[in-house]
Symmetry: C2
Subunit: 217 residues, 2 copies
């Protein structure tokens, strides 16, 4: 595979190819210094108008995790019902979060009003503040991989309920709820690929030249 | 500054701290192999339900760039009018894009219907498909930095007009319009920080423990 060639170019490629959405964690604690480093990585993400709209709620309290896990379980049952037959069975066999096992949960939020109502560069595409927050998540995810830490993004949550559990004020947007800890393993491939849920797409078919649909020669 | 300590941990930290939103480009061409590597990095981003919702429109045609630049200029004039006095003057002195100078422009899009209407993990937070696409952009941005390539995100555009210029079908969401090329420089600090538009926030004040507003001890 091409990635063998790429990793020789720079260590970033090895991080990118070996980063996984981790759902199985060891109980080993995350060192404070490592947590601070990955949060510093997040904080150095790009942001529209340099607004740095993010906050980081570090969740360590087991009682809070249990509430979030309960909400996940309810929503995940509803999610499973959208699929039928073999796909339903496959879905129900997947482990889609590690909320209570992970030593740390991390909610990354976006404050759209930071530095006032007008943000340089945000006048036409309003959600670029959330986009910036996603870039911060990806910085954190790659830095965590470099630290040997696994990160799992739990997307099967209801933001209204999450805001109540974490006391997040109106107007603040929860963007990502992450589980962070040392992983049982970093598998070679994404789990949804290895269990046959979806294939890795061919990159060449996703690249167009100058206009949508024009494949590069 | 703390970053000196961090860069010794792993090369990723140096990339993260020295990545910039680049608006001034050299005319030097981007090697095909380097472009392919950074697109491969983007394609290995996490995605909700492993849906890989992205496409990459590589824009090389100067006529297309000129159309996009014209649209930027109109929207940027409107954006400037949101600010007054010194801030208005500061805004008008900023260079906020490098569309026509950059050898490559790159539009990164999101297809919310890839692999069908139901996406594993997207039943509650619908825009996680766009969030995945933002993670792809950040992978590309960091890989580009490792290649010595600069990336600038042009957010002052209207997506409806951009879709017409690039022939993007209804339903497909343009997420990022990037300029890519070798930069004149990678400045030490973000330009909006060094010109005094906004300060870098203190990370410690952005971190809460277990609940919004609870500063860690």
């Amino acid at each position: 595979m091409a990635s063998t060639l790429l990793v020789e170019q720079h260590p970033i490629y090895e991080l990118i190819f070996s980063r996984r959405d981790v759902r199985r964690f060891l109980s080993r604690a995350v060192p404070e210094a490592a947590l601070k480093r990955i949060l510093t990585a997040a904080h150095h993400a790009p942001s529209v108008g340099f607004m740095q709209p993010w906050n980081f709620i570090v969740v360590r309290d087991p009682a809070v995790k249990v509430k979030v896990k309960g909400m996940f379980s309810a929503e995940n049952s509803k999610g499973a019902r959208r699929f039928r037959g073999k796909r339903r069975a496959l879905y129900e066999g997947l482990k889609l979060e590690g909320i209570t096992e992970a030593p740390i949960n991390l909610c990354v939020t976006c404050d759209p009003k930071r530095f006032g109502p007008h943000v340089l560069g945000r006048n036409t595409i309003r959600r670029t503040d959330v986009y910036s927050t996603c870039c911060a998540v990806q910085n954190l995810w790659l830095a965590a991989r470099a630290e040997g830490l696994g990160v799992g993004w739990v997307s099967i949550l209801r933001n209204d309920k999450l805001k109540r559990i974490l006391g997040i004020p109106p107007g603040i947007i929860p963007v990502a709820y992450l589980c962070v800890g040392y992983p049982v393993e970093f598998p070679d491939r994404p789990e949804l690929e290895s269990v046959g849920w979806s294939p890795r797409l061919s990159l060449d078919r996703l690249i167009f030249l100058d206009r949508w649909g024009c494949l590069a020669p």
